[in-house]
């Protein structure tokens, strides 16, 4: 089996702060990490490798420093990694990103499974997975919580939807986007880290992929961001203090009255 795991490098939202005056996100000094939800896709790939035998490949598109995210994937046990990076790809929306990733995936050869994170924590769209599947002409399942290949070109999977869990059967190749429930990601081992440091990660750009400029970067992106603003918090918090019995009782009374007024509104 061959498994491809597209991973994205994202700013660590734990350290993202807002500039209260300008209402913009302060990116300086914000650490870049592997998209936390992609760790689950990596873990799922590694488990399949252990149970059925597979070559696992990580693929990322991003600036040169996104190589760090790929080394993390290697340290966890992914076999090889490729970085797609080119100035011409900057400004790509999800459509253009999926288009570029599809070209890189094709160049890497045939895969039985492509495992994506459910969504990236920065853009938070969850669109790249299904778009990549469509670009490659593969069937897709989103929100997958378990997957078992049957060894004969088929697989069984579960998909978490609003009202429960769908059970599905399909044929490979396929692209799945996975949720947290699929497996608990392992930590990199010391050996893994050493190997990851030594590994060379090829960087592919326009020279290798030769994509039509009309389909990449800002030019190739159907969507345009026209405005970014701070959400206006229209809420005025009525803050009451508990404390001793009397204060607690008063606070609770006020809250009960508030809840009742909202319920009848």
């Amino acid at each position: 089996m061959r498994i491809l795991v597209p991973v994205k490098q994202v700013p660590d939202t734990r350290t993202v702060r807002m500039d209260e005056k300008t209402g913009t996100v302060i990116r300086d000094g914000v650490a870049a990490i592997i998209n936390p939800l992609d760790l689950y896709a990596i873990e799922a790939a590694l488990l399949l490798k252990e149970s059925c035998g597979a070559e696992t490949v990580a693929l990322s598109m991003g600036p040169p420093q996104a190589e760090r995210a790929l080394r993390e994937a290697l340290a966890m046990g992914i076999d090889r990694a490729v970085l797609v990076s080119d100035r011409a790809y900057a400004g790509s929306d999800t459509w253009a990103t999926a288009w570029i990733l599809a070209a890189a995936a094709r160049r890497l050869g045939e895969f039985d499974l492509i495992l994506c994170g459910e969504r990236a924590t920065d853009g938070d769209t969850g669109q790249v997975g299904p778009e990549l599947a469509a670009a490659l002409g593969l069937p897709v399942l989103t929100h997958v919580n378990h997957v078992t290949p049957d060894g004969a070109g088929g697989f069984q999977a579960g998909r978490l939807v609003e009202t429960g869990e769908e059970l599905l059967a399909g044929t490979l190749p396929a692209l799945l986007t996975v949720v947290k429930e699929i497996a608990e990601p392992r930590l990199p081992t010391l050996n893994g880290k050493i190997r990851a440091r030594r590994e060379t990660i090829p960087v592919w750009g326009q020279k290798e992929l030769q994509l039509d400029p009309a389909s990449i970067g800002l030019e190739g992106s159907p969507t345009r961001v026209v405005k970014i603003f701070r959400p206006k918090i229209a809420r005025q918090c009525r803050l009451v203090f508990g404390g001793d019995e009397r204060k607690t009782a008063a606070a609770v009374n006020e809250l009960a009255a508030f809840l009742q007024s909202r319920a009848s509104a």
Partner: protein
């Protein structure tokens, strides 16, 4: 030529899902501003005329029902192929779907092949003066900023819209519209994945559809105290949600998790107990209509987005609140009893 605005209604077992009517509210507003016709597209099999008429009663000028046994339940490949054919034949200007597990899978898959722009999980839609373009606004970077996005050249302009982010359209009896039923070519209905079963969630676990939510954070301290939160949830007729801290400790399973790496919810009422309000948590709940928080720390972030907050220990507040909600007359004496017993 008037613009055609499409919404993608969702049905299950022949019944339209509530989110379909929220989409009609969105679609009608957009169609009015843009000056266009509102179409409701729906996939299914042998859909009842009366059910389709509901879409017209609630604002659709036309219903476009694609029907086949293969479309009875959501099948992504079949739905995407049929949707693509419909788009190519009718060239709608705008296509709006719900940001459900269905919409968030079907729309990107279709948008890629249609070479269309797609904006995920919008909380506001508008039409730009002059250009007539769809303005799509969505939270980004964990809800810290809002981004407005448009799609100048490619058609249709596609968006998924966050469920519960608007009121469902109400029926206007006597509204007239056209119902078109289409039967897709069998060749378009093939799929490489088939459904073999379904395990429904226990009703109380469905936090995404719940109107009210009681949400516990690490402030509950141990799993035993969940009974307190459950009792409040029962008193309020609410479902139980949790922060990641609670889920990571195994106190509640993952389907209860709200936030960036959990579910996004927009209930009418959110009551947070011992939840600090990290940006990752806020990302999943700050569009709730009313937010109430109980926290010992007056500086807790959650108070920044709350409508009503109590600074105090949930172990004091919650038992008293339950009493007060159940029996306003008895609240005082019971509170005293609780306090005497030293609930902490």
């Amino acid at each position: 030529m008037a613009a055609d605005i499409w919404i993608l209604a969702e049905q299950r077992q022949g019944k339209l899902l509530p989110v379909s009517f929220e989409l009609l509210t969105r679609g009608a507003a957009v169609a009015a501003k843009r000056g266009g016709r509102l179409h409701a597209v729906v996939f299914g099999h042998n859909l009842a005329e009366a059910e389709l008429q509901k879409l017209i009663d609630c604002g659709a000028d036309r219903v476009l029902a694609a029907e086949a046994p293969e479309l009875a339940e959501f099948d992504l490949e079949a739905c995407a192929a049929v949707l693509l054919d419909l788009i190519r034949a009718e060239k709608p200007e705008i296509l709006i779907a719900a940001a459900t597990t269905t919409g968030r899978a079907l729309l990107p898959y279709t948008a890629m092949t249609a070479r269309a722009g797609l904006t995920a999980d919008c909380t506001e839609l508008d039409i730009e003066e002059g250009s007539g373009l769809l303005l799509q606004t969505r939270p980004a970077i964990g809800g810290n900023i809002m981004a407005t996005i448009k799609c100048p050249r490619h058609r249709p302009q596609m968006a998924t819209v966050r469920p519960h982010s608007t009121k469902p359209a109400t029926a206007q009896p006597g509204r007239r519209g056209e119902i078109t039923r289409v039967r897709p070519e069998p060749a378009r209905l093939v799929s490489r994945i088939r459904r073999t079963g379904f395990k429904p969630l226990a009703e109380k676990d469905g936090i995404q559809d719940a109107k009210r939510l009681v949400v516990v954070g690490r402030g509950i301290k141990k799993p035993e105290t969940l009974v307190l939160a459950r009792a409040l949830a029962d008193a309020l007729g609410a479902a139980l949600g949790a922060s990641r801290e609670v889920v990571d400790r195994g106190w509640l399973p993952y389907p209860h998790q709200i936030g960036l790496s959990g579910k996004t919810v927009t209930p009418e009422l959110y009551v947070g107990l011992g939840v600090s309000g990290s940006i990752q948590h806020l990302a999943g709940m700050q569009t709730a209509q009313t937010i109430v928080a109980v926290n010992t720390d007056p500086e807790a972030q959650i108070f920044k987005v709350a409508d009503f907050g109590i600074v105090g220990s949930l172990f004091d507040i919650v038992p008293a609140l339950i009493q007060s909600l159940q029996d306003p007359q008895a609240k005082k004496s019971v509170l005293e009893q609780k306090l005497a017993k030293g609930t902490k």
